[in-house]
């Protein structure tokens, strides 16, 4: 039916909220925006 769900032992426990998923990903990206963070390749 077009929804993503959390499956556990064959049963759907909850439906995934795409908006909240995007919000969380945006939160991850925020960490990369602050000044003191070294750019990729620093390691």
């Amino acid at each position: 039916v077009g929804d993503y769900v959390i499956l556990h032992v064959g049963y759907a426990l909850s439906r995934l909220d795409p908006e909240e998923a995007e919000r969380t990903l945006a939160l991850f990206r925020e960490a990369g925006l602050s000044a003191e963070v070294p750019q990729e390749g620093a390691a």
Partner: protein, 408 residues
């Protein structure tokens, strides 16, 4: 896979790691327990610990259903299969849990017992339908995630009048175990690891919601952040916990908002309440007797309760003396502190339950951790603060969702 790959991005992980490193204070300690075995597995598999500053430590909690299953309960299952000759169905991980007399369900199967591995509770009920001449017993284990499916099949068996099906209920409760880690006679006697916060379970919380953790945040002054099972979820949760510690806050925060609400899955909770009731106490491996920490089948469904049907009585059995699973499950010891780790006790032939499931602290450390530690010890003289390169994205090939098989 959508909603999985994005949460495993290696470059983002390094950025979050750098943010954690920038925000933690050198003079502070950040010891966080990930309660759930799913997180233990993710932390080991993706090398999350390597991305953390030295004063940020992850302590593995007891949220691995196979690991906390006491020997006496496995003995019960083996006796049902070998002596009562029932068809015994259970989840795969349970088969290898070492029991008394050097036995396991797998070894019992080799001796002729009819032991079936199933992926879902519905499979057990199906077997009962297909074999009306046999007694089919489902040995049900797990936390709040696997409980609703068990409730569902019991209710279904009752509705259809399937008389040859019954369940040994070993379902246990997350909040009771967290409470026990924070305060119990053992904690007062043995002491406990100082904990500065918890990462709250992912799937368990989809069912029970974030509300049950509020008590721990308020009463015990411990920050809690509920996190998803992907590595970025865990990193973000660690950052959120560190911020709470820095600010002196003790709140329940939810990083896994894409699947967890404050109330959880109310339908599942109602179903569980209809079929199960609290046990006054239940024996946990590692934790001992924990009051009101497990569920039993209500009298109304007594005909489907294998403990009543076969008049079963659980004997308490001491763990192997050399095994440190008890202390490891409490976070008091690390797998490498155990004398038999990796020598006598391996995933192929586990002595302790923490070595059985991939969610167990010992198995996770055996599979992913120890190799890295040996490698990391060698080039010790590398210049100043280098962020270890862990190729998070490269591990995505194992695309199957472990949550489908693991019962957390």
């Amino acid at each position: 896979v959508k909603y999985i790959d994005e949460f495993r991005d290696g470059s983002l992980a390094r950025r979050i790691a750098a943010q954690i490193a920038a925000e933690v204070r050198a003079d502070r300690r950040y010891h966080f327990m990930e309660f759930c075995g799913g997180h233990t597995h993710a932390i080991s598999r993706y090398g999350v610990a390597d991305l953390l500053p030295p004063n940020v430590k992850m302590i593995h909690g007891p949220g691995c259903p196979v690991c906390v299953l006491p020997i006496g309960r496995v003995d019960l299952a083996i006796a049902l299969a070998l002596e009562q000759r029932v068809m015994l169905c259970t989840y795969g991980d349970v088969l290898r849990v070492p029991a008394s007399g050097g036995l396991s369900l797998l070894k019992a199967k080799a001796r002729g017992a009819d032991v079936r591995m199933i992926y879902s509770a519905a499979d057990a009920l199906d077997l009962a339908r297909r074999h009306p001449e046999r007694e089919v017993v489902f040995f049900a284990i797990g936390f709040e995630t696997t409980t609703p499916p068990t409730a569902l099949v019991i209710r279904q068996a009752a509705a259809e009048g399937i008389g040859n099906f019954s369940v040994v209920c070993n379902h246990v409760l997350t909040p009771a175990a967290i409470g026990n880690i924070l305060e119990s006679p053992e904690v007062r006697r043995l002491g406990t690891v100082p904990l500065d916060g918890f990462i709250g379970p992912a799937h368990v919380s989809t069912v029970i919601g974030s509300q049950p953790y509020e008590f721990f945040a308020e009463e015990y002054r411990k920050p809690v952040v509920i996190a998803g099972f992907e590595p970025l979820d865990v990193m973000q949760a660690i950052l959120m916990l560190a911020r709470q510690v820095n600010d002196g806050r003790c709140e329940v925060e939810n990083e896994f908002t894409r699947a967890v609400t404050r109330d959880g899955n109310l339908k599942a909770q109602a179903l569980v309440g209809e079929v199960f009731e609290l046990r006054r106490a239940f024996d946990w491996r590692g934790l001992g007797e924990v009051p009101y920490s497990a569920l039993a089948i209500r009298a109304e469904f007594g005909a489907w309760d294998a403990e009543r049907k076969f008049a079963l009585r659980t004997q308490r059995v001491a763990d192997n003396k050399a095994c440190e699973c008890g202390a490891i499950l409490r976070g008091l010891k690390h797998p490498r502190d155990c004398r038999i780790f990796g020598t006598v006790c391996t995933p192929e032939s586990p002595v302790g339950s923490c070595m059985v499931s991939s969610e167990g602290a010992c198995a996770a450390y055996y599979s992913y951790g120890r190799h890295r530690e040996v490698a990391a010890a060698a080039p010790a003289a590398v210049s100043a603060p280098v962020i270890p390169v862990v190729l998070l994205a490269s591990t995505v090939t194992e695309a199957h969702d472990r949550a489908e098989v693991a019962a957390s």
